[in-house]
Symmetry: C2
Subunit: 118 residues, 2 copies
Amino acid sequence: MNIGEVAKELNLSIDTLRYYEKMGLIKEINKVNGKREYSEENIKDLRFILCIKSAGLSLKDIKKFLKYYEQGDDTLDLRINILEKQRTILESEIKEKQEILNYLNYKIDLYEKRKGDK
Amino acid sequence: MNIGEVAKELNLSIDTLRYYEKMGLIKEINKVNGKREYSEENIKDLRFILCIKSAGLSLKDIKKFLKYYEQGDDTLDLRINILEKQRTILESEIKEKQEILNYLNYKIDLYEKRKGDK
DNA sequence: TCTTGACCTAGAGTTGGCTCTAGATTATAT
DNA sequence: ATATAATCTAGAGCCAACTCTAGGTCAAGA
């Protein structure tokens, strides 16, 4: 599969695919006549990345996660650590946004009342 | 009040104060011997900015909001619009993060189980 | 007088995750 | 032979909201 097909298949941009490779998220793609030729395994790797990415991990954490993943089951705890750290971050982001939302609702209410008073 | 005192009082950095001024969020601060001298009104304006900022508005939206604010009660609806748009954004961010969190919990569960199996 | 510390400016750098640009190469269709 | 489309590279640009840098001014204290 060439890069354009992979991009379409995975719903990523071509630039993003090259970017992930440059960042070392995936190993260097084999090239034929200077053009990337993605193997099934490459695609599987990319799908896995998108999967952990959907847990909200940064590319940096994804890279760390993959490194541990390659090292096998001895690193399960390390991988769990990454996910739990991410959970903590997400929980506090949600809490913060919820508080902002409450405040915003309060403000909107005030404005609506003032509008009624006019 | 000089800039350092204001920064301490409002818990902002000096750079941020100058930045807000440069961005046109607040009017130009009066200078004495080339140094900013903040009036009580300047501080009140800044507090108001921080107040709407805590509703999660971008600086761009804050600026728009302030512009309407100055124009008086005729712009109440316009201001409400800004706040409601922000509410919509916040709600969908929370929802999205909640979904990511659910997925993350699911992943962590899987990993914990695998750990138990080992 | 000299040093310290707070302030000044314009403009560059930071962050993450892309996205775009310019110029080159290659394969395919006419 | 040539036009088109897809690919390649290195490196710049984008976004927001700051943050930092370099080099300069200024007033007060020892």
